[in-house]
């Protein structure tokens, strides 16, 4: 170890706050990026699954009867 004691390791002859601030921000951002990526992947997976289940349920039902009908009407153009 390059330091005599644990407190010397933390203080780093006055440079501790600078060094530890950098390492803390690095750890938070890298871990945050990783967690965000995993969560986003999972949420997209879940959304796809919900959609497929929904589609599968709907495709089993008979087609809904139309509420209005169209009748062919012959109109003279004269």
């Amino acid at each position: 170890m390059a330091f005599d004691s644990f407190s010397a390791f933390i203080i780093m002859e006055g440079h501790g706050p600078y060094v530890w601030a950098c390492y803390a921000v690095f750890a938070v951002l890298v871990a945050g990026l990783m967690i965000w990526s995993v969560k986003r992947h999972q949420s997209v997976m879940d959304a796809c699954q919900r959609r497929y289940v929904h589609d599968a349920k709907n495709s089993g039902r008979p087609a809904q009867k139309a509420s209005a009908t169209f009748t062919r009407v012959e109109i003279s153009q004269d």
Partner: protein, 247 residues
């Protein structure tokens, strides 16, 4: 070679390969990074000139390396998007631009905090720092442009053009310390030359760089997989894959 190229263009093939590599990339990345950072923080000797503040190098240099490599790889993918219209190349650019943004921010932040005890200032408008700040804006521009255009193909082309225009900044970042008088020290880490720093400082730095590259590989895989799921959700293979629980 062409067969490989065509395979690489297939989202389904990529999805399978990425799933297989991801655990190794994650385990290797975390292990190397933990080893490199612990070594650098606690066991590497103190710098005779800068004291302990130099220990920031073990995260500053890997972040800066990655920030530039990500942009270069985005530029290569942009060429592939424009010339061959390969879908995966565009997926790659879209997936990793936010990662590039985070690492550019990290290299600027750690550099600024390192600058205070070393140069006596957080920031100077010198060539290296300013060109890195421009890189941060470029990443922001790429992300914003991609989100601003709804049509997938138009967005891909516009983003590819912006990435290629911005690539001029990369040699400026790299050679800024040689071309101009700058507070920033010259490159400490060159693969082509013998290291200028002692081995007990250089080795932990090498481990940290390799570890962060592996983690970037993992991030690329998972983020590209997400993007592929979104784009290919109407295909049969994605339906089967999702219904099987992603395996």
């Amino acid at each position: 070679m062409w067969q490989w190229f065509h395979k690489l263009g297939s989202p389904k093939w990529f999805f399978g390969i990425a799933t297989r590599f991801m655990p190794w990339l994650l385990a290797g990345g975390l292990l190397l990074l933990a080893a490199g950072l612990t070594w650098g923080l606690a066991f590497a000797p103190e710098d005779y000139l800068q004291g302990n503040s130099y220990r920031i190098i073990f995260i500053h240099v890997p972040s800066a390396f990655l920030a530039q490599s990500i942009y270069i790889s985005m530029a290569v993918a942009a060429v592939v998007t424009l010339v061959w219209r390969m879908k995966l190349a565009d997926v790659f650019v879209k997936a990793i631009a936010p990662v590039g943004l985070v690492f550019t921010f990290l290299s600027l932040f750690t550099g600024a905090v390192w600058g205070k005890p070393t140069w006596g200032t957080w920031w100077v408008w010198d060539a290296r720092l300013t060109s890195m700040l421009i890189l941060l804006f470029l990443y922001g521009g790429v992300i914003a442009l991609d989100r601003a255009i709804n049509d997938e193909k138009s967005a891909a082309r516009a983003v590819a053009v912006l990435v290629l225009v911005g690539v001029v900044n990369i040699p400026i970042i790299k050679y800024s310390v040689d071309w101009w008088n700058t507070l920033h020290q010259p490159a400490t880490f060159k693969l082509t030359e013998k290291p200028t720093m002692p081995m007990e400082m250089w080795l932990p730095l090498l481990l940290s760089v390799l570890g962060l590259y592996l983690l970037f590989g993992w991030l690329t895989c998972i983020r590209m997989k997400t993007e592929i799921l979104i784009r290919e959700q109407r295909t049969r293979w994605v339906r089967e894959l999702v219904m099987a629980g992603g395996k």
